[in-house]
Symmetry: none
């Protein structure tokens, strides 16, 4: 049985059971465990599943952008790894921008005890950080119920008055050709954040790498670093343009 065929079977079982086991896969598909592991690593690098010790769990496609508070999300492992790396980049005294992506949201849990200032347009981030040592600055403007965040010209104006040492941003897609957003509002906010921070980190899991969707709004030069769990070969063409890659692979 070749790889495409196995891939199909693995994803089918994952969809049915929610998880797979290396041993059981090797047995089912009549392959060695090492091959099973290689298959899973390959699929994880493509963002089609999340690797765990001894197997893999499925990446939930129904993850709504505004369903942030569902902490029990089972696919949080990869995003948490990314955020753990990101949190390591933050020092006491920093002023940081955080946007309204679901990955960036998960950064909250790792920075609750830091003595920093957070400037954000994301309501879930505000809720999450309101009772901890972080000092909060809320970006004002029209509230977008869908994204649970503030967007629009007032928000852009607000951001332009501040300077952050670091920005932590999400994105819809990134390729060697640039950065992609799902809407003009997202694009302009992201651009503003990056323009007003000394150093810009992009937090994106493997599924976003190489993806070109809707609106190409900026060159790669807008950002300084990517924190991702994607395999290094997926990043060819991006790394070559001077972007620092921080790998969050376990």
């Amino acid at each position: 049985m070749n790889f495409p065929k196995r891939k199909q079977k693995i994803l089918a079982q994952l969809d049915k059971d929610g998880e797979v086991d290396v041993k059981q896969l090797a047995d089912d598909l009549q392959i060695s465990e090492i091959t099973a592991r290689r298959d899973l690593n390959q699929l994880a690098a493509d963002g089609l599943l999340y690797r765990t010790h001894g197997g893999a769990t499925k990446v939930n496609p129904f993850e709504k952008p505004h369903d942030f508070l569902n902490k029990g999300a089972q696919n949080a492992t990869a995003k948490d790894e990314i955020c753990r790396i990101a949190a390591g980049q933050i020092n006491d005294g920093d002023v940081i921008f955080m946007d309204c992506g679901s990955t960036v949201f998960r950064l909250c849990q790792f920075i609750k005890n830091k003595k920093i200032k957070v400037i954000t347009n994301s309501l879930p981030v505000i809720y999450e950080l309101q009772n901890c040592s972080v000092s909060l600055n809320i970006i004002g403007g029209e509230f977008d119920k869908e994204r649970q965040a503030v967007h629009g010209s007032m928000a852009i104006e607000h951001i332009s008055k501040y300077r952050a040492s670091k920005a932590f941003l999400g994105i819809d897609g990134i390729s060697k050709n640039g950065l992609f957003a799902g809407s003009e509002n997202e694009a302009s906010i992201t651009t503003s954040f990056a323009a007003n921070s000394a150093y810009t980190y992009l937090l994106c899991d493997a599924s976003k790498i190489g993806r070109e969707s809707y609106l190409r709004f900026a060159d790669l030069s807008l950002i300084n670093a990517i924190i991702t769990d994607a395999a290094i070969d997926k990043l060819l063409g991006i790394e070559e343009q001077g972007i620092i890659i921080l790998n969050a692979k376990k």
Copy 2:
């Protein structure tokens, strides 16, 4: 069972019961106590729970807003009567300011179905109105954890860019000598709201009438009307200065 799976189960139980016990966790998850402790320590380091001797308790970001709701519940009947009158003053199409007082907060429940724009600096108000027909505008600036609201110069600047048809404001005290606030921040925000709205309502229960505390920040002329449950004789000296009294006595 691997760590991601256990993490999920631990957080699920924590969410349900509010606490977990090391012994019971070890038994439930079929792991040793030392592993259970390690799991809890890991999750605590990530800020997902609070570690206690022998177990852990959940960290709830909505704890404070709840307190706010309860605090608002004191004297709830009188406040609700006031807010019912206030809601009667609001028509579809209105743009209204709402400040961060506990009385004003209770106005939310009466305006959820109105087609209006609400501009506010109060996080509980935002939270309460985020999923209804009201269009929300969030005032940006530094977040004051104590009052769960945005204050400061950025907030003032933000407000000055908008014009509301009506403002609904709380206050620390009012007498025939003027308006009193508990802090300079509150005073400046209240002044801004009033200055940028066509008509200003003061929502205050009987305990605020005749009270002079801390900072006298404005003349009575700043406001147009008072909605209160106080007896009319308490309002002598105020009514005579041309302020409309809307009585909310049952």
